[in-house]
């Protein structure tokens, strides 16, 4: 199962990132692009670039047939899906394999096993990971719901077992609120997902989002590569990530990382992945979900470990054993990643498009910019707004913040409005400097509180 030529089925900064990993491993790299990305940097730098469809992602980056056909036509033996799009689609992974190609990610059966969030939660709970306390199974009726609620304790979140995006979800603080919420949630869930089964979960108001990066080879050897803290979120979208988390003591972090990798190996995972946890103010952590792909914020871990995670992903997919053991992994210093998005913080973060007139990446010690921008590049309006990731490293958190502050000022990017000012304000805020951010903070106080006001949260 060698991999010698990879079709990159993605766009933007991650297409470029994968291209570079392929090059360092001596693999050929072909970029699949949509008509809107014809002039993209990845398409220009690739060994070969092939148009797979129109701007509409459903007919290009999300079309399994077009992507596989492009791989066959260009003589590739593997497909790297990046993140988003087809990256966690078990059906796609299976079709890739059926055409004699290697899917760079977990094998289809593994994706299938971990594809359902509720099932994954139960599976990893069986293997020793704490999950958020909640009802036993689905709520049968009102009296069952009330009994389960008083057993778990208020406040609670009523959640549909299908779907996501907040539909059919309600926070309830009393039995009366629960009684009122049940019929509403049921009808919303039925309308949105065609499935009205509900369950209860303990509501954790002031939580942090901490995740553990892992890698497992085909022989079941697994290691963790430290943790990342993604508590700075706006409407469930990560804005800034750092590692290691300031929310846990070093001993508690070690314990979390160890339990995460042990459970995942026992449950039969393969390739790189991320386990996401909520951490409450007491430092108790609860597993919430597993991401079976390379993540946007993977450079935080690369800065801390010096390990190329995309190359590791490619090598594991090619059947190679893990090239290091747990004791070889050294986590050094502190890293911060800022997502530079084409969005206007002054106008409700409205997405922006347009021509990049000037672009110059920041530099200096411990500074890395992962971006597909160049002067003259036209940011298309069809896809997500990520323009790049500005990542900094320092010996400790304070140095990393200082470098981040300088780097965000050094970035030259004219022609498209970005969230740069928002990052400046975040880095200057007391909440961030003190390391006390919670996932709800930005939405509760409003981003405006971070932009230009005299009093910073």
């Amino acid at each position: 199962m060698t991999v010698s030529r990879v079709l990159i089925a993605n766009r933007g900064e991650i297409a470029l990132r994968i291209l570079r990993a392929c090059r360092t491993l001596g693999m050929g790299a072909v970029v699949a692009y949509s008509e809107a990305d014809r002039e993209s940097l990845a398409a220009q730098l690739a060994d070969e670039a092939i148009c797979v469809g129109p701007a509409d992602a459903r007919r290009s980056y999300l079309s399994a047939a077009a992507i596989i056909s492009a791989a066959l036509v260009t003589g590739c033996d593997a497909i790297h899906p990046g993140y988003g799009f087809l990256s966690e689609d078990a059906g796609f992974a299976e079709a890739v394999r059926d055409h004699g190609l290697t899917f760079v990610g977990p094998p289809p059966a593994v994706l299938e096993r971990f594809g359902n969030k509720e099932r994954t939660r139960r599976l990893l709970a069986e293997h020793g990971l704490p999950t958020i306390p909640g009802s036993e199974g689905m709520l049968r009726d009102e009296s069952h719901a009330l009994a389960e609620a008083s057993r778990v304790g208020y406040p609670l979140v009523v959640k549909p077992s299908a779907g996501g995006g907040g539909k059919g979800m309600r926070t309830v603080r009393t039995p009366r609120e629960l009684e009122a919420a049940l019929p509403v949630c049921r009808s919303e869930a039925r309308a949105a997902f065609g499935d009205d089964s509900l369950y209860l979960e303990k509501f954790l108001a002031e939580n942090r989002h901490v995740e553990v990066q892992v890698a497992v080879d085909a022989n079941g050897n697994g290691i963790h590569l430290g943790d990342r803290d993604c508590s700075v979120q706006r409407r469930h979208q990560k804005v800034l990530e750092e590692g290691p988390t300031p929310a846990l003591s070093p001993e508690r972090r070690d314990e979390l990382r160890g339990r995460a990798i042990d459970a995942l190996v026992a449950a039969g995972y393969e390739n790189v992945g991320t386990l996401e946890f909520l951490v409450d103010p007491d430092g108790d952590y609860y597993f919430i979900e597993l991401n079976c792909r390379i993540q946007v914020e993977h450079p935080v871990t690369e800065m801390l470990t010096g390990i190329d995670l995309v190359a590791l992903q490619l090598r594991i997919a090619a059947g190679e054993p893990l090239p290091f053991r747990q004791e070889d992994i050294r986590l050094r210093g502190h890293a911060i990643e800022m997502r530079i998005n084409a969005e206007d913080p002054a106008h409700d973060f409205r997405p922006q498009a347009g021509l990049v007139e000037r672009y110059l990446a920041p530099g200096g010690p411990g500074v890395r910019m992962d971006s597909h921008l160049f002067a003259g590049y036209e940011v298309p309006p069809y896809y997500d707004s990520l323009l790049g990731k500005l990542v900094v490293w320092g010996e400790d958190r304070e140095v990393a913040i200082a470098r981040a502050r300088v780097a965000i000022d050094d970035l030259v990017l004219d022609g498209v409005i970005t969230n740069r000012d928002f990052h400046r304000a975040l880095l200057d805020s007391e909440a961030f400097r003190a390391g006390t951010f919670t996932t709800a903070l930005l939405d509760r106080v409003g981003p405006a509180a971070f932009l230009g006001g005299p009093r910073r949260p």
Binding site: E48, P54, L72, V73, T74, G354, L355
Partner: protein
């Protein structure tokens, strides 16, 4: 449009509302239209001639807020292969020049792009883009998907085809996707071989348009088209003689022509047969 303005009696009376897209001012739009006209009517033909004569691969000209870049296709005269290393950006059409003109943001912040290729088609816009510019006597059938190209049995140079005819298929994992003729005419040649892998929107088959064939004006592959097809004339009539009075203070003079309306329809859609 200039006609409306004339009929309306005042310089701007006829064109408020519907024409004012977004928040761009009328003045901005008129200025852009004037620039587009000058670009398509004067600058581009001169630049294309210069590029062809110079043997250079690329020319870039800046003027005011405009930037025009022309690239000569590096590929052979009769094929439009997928992009390979070393020829990072492909021109629109083999043996001809592709032109992309970009204006930086207007007041509303949305730049617009005017693309012209010497033989029209780029991607799936084959017919539309040949309508939007001085028409050419040929059209090109393009790949509807990424896959393996197979022409219809019997299709050969000289085969007569009508708009919508199936010329062959692109096979995508065993599922055929039809390659259709974009216009009435005669097959003039093919840019690919049967069994070739092709990308989405790739140029496959050249169609000499019916009117051009009848007019006894077959085109040579790679040669710059000498004459636009008979109808319609390029959209640059002199401004109507109406009250072309100087406009209100602060507003620019009306542009001589207004190409932003619906493009003139394609020529020769109702050719012989």
């Amino acid at each position: 449009m200039s006609e409306e303005r004339a009929v309306g009696g005042g310089p701007r009376a006829g064109s408020d509302g519907a024409g004012a897209a977004g928040s761009r001012s009328e003045a901005d739009r008129l200025a852009d239209h004037a620039a587009i006209d000058r670009l398509t009517d004067e600058l581009l033909p001169a630049l294309i001639a210069k590029l062809g004569a110079s043997g250079l691969g690329e020319l870039e000209v800046r003027e005011g807020d405009w930037r025009v870049r022309l690239r000569m296709a590096a590929d052979g005269p009769d094929r439009a292969p997928m992009r390979r290393a070393g020829s990072p950006v492909r021109a629109g059409s083999p043996g001809t020049a592709a032109v992309v003109a970009t204006a930086p943001h207007g007041a509303a912040g949305t730049p617009r792009e005017a693309a012209a290729t010497a033989s029209g088609p780029r991607g799936s816009d084959a017919v539309r883009s040949s309508e939007a510019h001085p028409p050419r006597p040929r059209a090109v059938a393009v790949a509807p998907a990424v896959g393996v190209y197979r022409p219809r049995p019997g299709l050969a140079v000289g085969s007569r085809v009508r708009t919508g005819d199936r010329l062959g298929v692109v096979d995508v994992l065993g599922v055929p996707h039809d390659v259709v003729a974009p216009a009435d005419g005669v097959v003039g040649g093919s840019y690919v071989e049967p069994g070739d892998g092709v990308e989405y929107g790739q140029e496959l088959i050249r169609i000499e348009l019916a009117s051009a064939a009848v007019a006894g004006e077959p085109t040579t592959p790679g040669a710059p088209p000498r004459d636009p097809a008979p109808a319609p004339a390029p959209p640059n009539p002199a401004a109507p003689a109406g009250p072309a009075a100087p406009s209100a203070p602060g507003a620019p003079a009306p542009a001589p022509s207004a190409p932003a309306g619906p493009a003139p329809s394609a020529p020769a859609k109702e050719g012989p047969r």
